[in-house]
């Protein structure tokens, strides 16, 4: 029997976001090539110990030089320190395995994604990344390889490919996102400059995919699209619209979570049997401990009052998990917040309030670079008009920078005070051109229709 939090985790394939999006990519590599163990094999543990203490086989030289180089090397390959572990850039696939204990947060999503990769896809990605490493990353790869050569061979993951479309748990939109992400990751592997570069870009890409995945699984109405607005830091109208779009999506996501909570609650009650809305506090406490958490403190002394206020035990439970910051396992709020946090980490949302004048892009230049990298092999062009690129992003990722025909009516109906959409579009286009220009990605044959450079 699955508890309600487990049902949510199963449905959304995630519990919350990882602290560093690059860790998503590292976890993706780990799950793509190795079994999803919770206990690490001895090979990995020994490797981590060797790195930690600087006792690496194959390193020769004076003690001082070796010590200095190992210290530097460790900093070079470290992706992030967390309270419960350190993760490394997977310059050797084995380096993806050390855990930082944030993995359970998104393991479901990564595993679902990994299952969409065929054996050929996996081989292709492996060859693209580790078969053509930049010279310096090859040094580190070899060094790691020498440490584990004599150890017991760790088996590669046996991943049975299942098309996401066959998973009844996934909505069609979510299935499409997984399929696109698979394609993008394969394209990215062939475009980037080494594994470190791949990890950073792929992390961003996965964060973007996951934030969209949440909305897709919640069946959130996207007629008001994701407004990736680079001019939000400088244009009041753009900033307000961007905030409103995020708030609307969050509110709709919250409504969906509420609906699903009720459904999962009823489902869990049906599985354990008995009444779904017991009138006695003892009965309610017993039920909630079984369908939520044995330590859940949902039913307090004033159960009758709570029940009267919120209508039923389901209402009381929802209120508890939604409003009580001290609730045992804040799964509902964490899920809800994760969607926004992932949007921030991907680079399509601001981390500041609408009243902030702090300079910040709403469309992070690094995300632009990532999307350009994955766009080139797919579009098979070296350069294209910026407006064409934006049309492609709108169609593929649901990201819009311009108020176009597809949602102009919605804009006019709901945001009449924000002014002429052309003014907002112009501000965004100008800002976007600056982003492209600062990365040497803009070619201006004319002012009105600049080109984006996909390949120098």
């Amino acid at each position: 029997m699955a508890t309600v939090p487990e049902k949510f985790a199963h449905y959304y394939c995630a519990r919350r976001e990882m602290s560093d999006p690059a860790d998503l990519a590292r976890l993706f590599v780990a799950r793509l090539f190795y079994p999803a163990d919770t206990r690490l094999p001895a090979t990995v543990t020994h490797l981590v110990e060797a790195l930690k203490h600087g006792k690496l086989k194959g390193l020769a030289g004076s003690k001082a030089d070796v010590g200095k180089s190992v210290e530097w090397l460790r900093a070079f390959i470290t992706l992030g320190w967390r309270t419960r572990g350190v993760s490394y850039y997977p310059l050797h696939p084995m380096l993806s395995r050390p855990l930082n204990r944030e993995e359970p947060r998104v393991d479901g999503f990564i595993l679902t994604l990994v299952q969409s990769f065929s054996s050929a896809d996996r081989q292709h990605l492996h060859n693209a990344l580790w078969g053509n490493l930049p010279p310096f990353e090859k040094v580190i790869h070899d060094l790691v390889q020498w440490q584990i050569e004599e150890a017991e061979q760790t088996p590669m993951a046996i991943v049975e490919q299942t098309r996401p479309g066959m998973d009844s748990n996934l909505t069609p939109a979510a299935t499409a996102i997984l399929e696109q992400t698979r394609e993008d990751l394969l394209a990215l592997a062939a475009e980037v400059n080494g594994v470190q570069d791949f990890t950073d870009h792929a992390g961003r890409l996965l964060a973007l995919a996951l934030t969209r995945f949440f909305l897709a699984q919640a069946n959130v109405d996207m007629t008001l699209p994701i407004y990736a607005a680079p001019a939000a830091d400088s244009h009041e109208g753009v900033r307000t619209l961007a905030h409103e779009a995020i708030e609307v999506h969050r509110a709709r996501f919250e409504q969906a979570l509420h609906r699903q909570f009720e459904a999962f609650f009823q489902g869990a009650v049906a599985e354990v049997g008995g009444a779904s809305d017991p009138s006695s506090a003892a009965g309610a406490r017993d039920l909630t401990e079984r369908i939520f958490n044995p330590k859940a403190n949902i039913v307090s002394g004033q159960y009758a009052d709570l029940r009267e206020e919120y209508g039923s035990l389901c209402g009381v439970s929802y209120h508890y998990y939604w409003h009580h910051s001290g609730a045992r396992s804040r799964f509902l709020r964490q899920l809800h917040t994760a969607q926004l946090n992932l949007a921030k980490k991907a680079g399509i949302a601001n981390s500041r309030s609408r009243y902030s004048t702090w300079h910040y892009y709403w469309l992070a230049p690094s995300l632009v670079e990532t999307l350009l990298l994955v766009s080139r092999p797919r579009l098979m062009r070296d350069r294209m008009l910026v407006v064409e690129l934006l049309r492609d992003w709108r169609k593929r990722y649901g990201l819009t920078m311009l108020i176009d025909d597809s949602w102009q009516d919605i804009y006019r109906a709901n945001f009449p005070g924000l002014g002429n959409p052309e003014a907002l579009n112009e501000a965004n286009q100008r800002r976007f051109n600056v982003i492209l220009s600062e990365r040497g990605r803009l070619h201006k044959n004319s002012d009105d229709f600049p080109w984006v450079v996909l390949r120098d």
Partner: protein
């Protein structure tokens, strides 16, 4: 009509700024661009299907009307037919603006039909965005052409190429309306016109205009005409011009050399909006008046009347009368303001009228060399690769690798904390593996034979002998060229600012190079510059499974 009024009409927002606004019979500016050869080719029947593209102000409609006139068609009838989706009579089809009205399926089909089987002529004018949309619609509908229509992109015309610039100046300065006005020599407009007719001065102005062009800014005919109208008239009406012409000191700011570099009207400091007069804004950014050159400044300040060129009387008068402290002045504030103003005027004048002054105040040291390289054949550019590579070594190693003649492989990827350090492989890419080409060599567009083109940037390509599609290319812009050549020069040194754009392009190039170049030596050598005083070498012997640290 006074030439100033005619010229002011060409300013952005003026009464002659677009072809549609110009009235028949009114005095106007005509520039004999190469593209006018199209008119003859159409009349002779050599060209039957043509698409004119470009941005607003590039002259699409102007050219289309010339073609229409040459075919003996009534302009008014053609313009009137535009509201019905285009003119279609006697074997001639014209669509003067593809953006006017929606691109319906019927319109797309009709355009495909007439472009596939043109009668006397099929002429379509469209901006690049709309044309791209049309082509996408053709592709989506599976419509292709038995013979590709001639496509002329007027945005590819470089108005600052020597040929086009000469034509622009001839069109503006030698128009018939000047003869009719018969302006006195002392008139502001006449003086500015005479100044610009001077070949040396015109070339210096062209060099300043080349800067925005080479830095990637498109320049349209409308923008050039508006800019010239401003700098010739100083933005004044004929009456205002007549009034200031008699007052030496008041006249000074409106003389060509000052008007050319003056701050654009309505520009708000700290504002985000780009000034309307784009070219004026660019000139203002390169204002020699704000550029210091101590030696030349001293000459201007102390020996203005003994320089290689004679200054205008007004400037001399200012120098003699205003550069002294007046007895009634209790502080030096006013005096300092007058000196600053004089230096601004004098530098601008000297930068335009004298080769010595131009060299002193022009903001790029390697500009001439860059332009020469752009126009040179690729085979003759091999000598330039060496300093560029040396500059790259210096740039990527933070100035620590200076003596190399081949390019080291620098590790540029990733964002870890160790990125503050420099890592490179001693595996080198030889100079002979690179080639240098200009952008016109690398991408030729069909209709370019009708327009005056000028290359914009160089490309350092690897490997030299590979097919262009399989080459790794480093776009070498004017800025990057300046950085690399400056670093590689005997004087050395980087400019104060390294542009993010250049860093990104160099990073992409080096990343691609890292993946392409294969290590040949059994032991690969690496250098890690970890911190200021912490450097170590790594020798990677993969066969013997050993990395030696030293």
């Amino acid at each position: 009509m006074h030439p100033a009024e005619i010229l002011q009409g060409y300013r952005l927002g003026g009464h002659q700024a677009t072809v549609e606004l110009q009235k028949a019979g009114m005095p106007s500016v005509h520039i004999d661009f190469d593209v006018l050869r199209l008119v003859e080719d159409v009349r002779a029947g050599n060209v039957k299907a043509v698409i004119l593209t470009g941005t607003a102000g590039d002259g699409k409609t102007y050219l289309a009307y010339r073609v229409i006139d040459a075919l003996g068609l009534d302009r008014a009838a053609v313009a009137a037919a535009q509201s019905q989706g285009g003119y279609n009579q006697d074997g001639v089809y014209t669509d003067l603006d593809l953006s006017a009205g929606p691109l319906t399926s019927a319109r797309v089909q009709r355009l495909h039909q007439v472009l596939s089987k043109p009668g006397r002529l099929t002429l379509v004018c469209a901006n690049e965005g709309k044309l791209s949309e049309l082509e996408e619609r053709f592709r989506a509908s599976g419509l292709d052409f038995p013979q590709v229509p001639l496509r002329i992109n007027l945005s590819r015309r470089s108005l600052v190429s020597p040929e086009a610039w000469t034509k622009v100046l001839h069109g503006v300065l030698d128009a018939s309306f000047w003869d009719e006005a018969n302006l006195p020599d002392a008139d502001l407009l006449a003086r500015n016109r005479a100044a610009l007719q001077d070949a040396q001065m015109a070339e210096h102005v062209r060099r300043y205009l080349l800067l925005p062009y080479l830095l990637g800014e498109p320049i349209t005919v409308r923008e050039v005409l508006s800019f010239l109208a401003y700098v010739l008239t100083g933005g004044l009406t004929p009456a205002q011009a007549a009034e200031v012409s008699n007052d030496g000191i008041r006249l000074l700011p409106y003389l060509l050399f000052n008007a050319l570099f003056s701050e654009p009207d309505g520009y708000v400091h700290g504002g985000r909006a780009v000034p309307v007069e784009k070219l004026l804004w660019w000139m203002f950014r390169f204002d020699p008046g704000a550029t210091a050159n101590p030696q030349t400044d001293l000459q201007l300040l102390t020996r203005l009347d003994q320089l290689d060129v004679a200054p205008p009387d007004e400037l001399c008068h200012y120098w003699r009368s205003e550069m002294v402290v007046r007895p009634e002045e209790e502080s030096d504030t006013k005096y300092r303001e007058r000196v600053a103003r004089f230096m601004r005027y004098a530098r601008r004048w000297y930068a335009l009228f004298s080769d010595t002054g131009h060299r002193a105040y022009f903001p790029f040291r390697y500009f001439d060399q860059y332009v020469d390289d752009l126009l040179m054949r690729s085979e003759n550019l091999d000598n330039q690769i060496s300093p560029l590579v040396k500059g790259l070594n210096l740039l990527l190693s933070g100035g620590q690798v200076g003596g190399e003649f081949d390019l080291n492989l620098y590790h540029t990827a990733g964002q870890s904390i160790a990125q503050r350090s420099v890592v490179y492989s001693k595996t080198q890419v030889g100079l002979g593996d690179f080639c240098l080409v200009s952008d016109l060599t690398s991408g030729h567009v069909g209709g370019d034979m009708y327009v005056e083109c000028h290359p914009r940037r160089l490309y350092l390509c690897y490997p030299a002998e590979a097919d262009p599609d399989n080459q790794i290319r480093l776009p070498v812009s004017l800025l990057l060229y300046e950085v690399l050549m400056g670093a590689a020069s005997p004087e050395g040194g980087f400019p104060a600012t390294l542009w993010a754009k250049e860093r990104h392009t160099v990073g992409r190039f080096m990343g691609a190079l890292n993946r392409r170049v294969k290590e040949k030596s059994p032991v690969a050598q690496f250098v890690v510059l970890a911190k200021a005083n912490s450097t170590f070498n790594l020798a990677h012997d993969s066969k013997n499974q050993r990395i030696t640290v030293s």
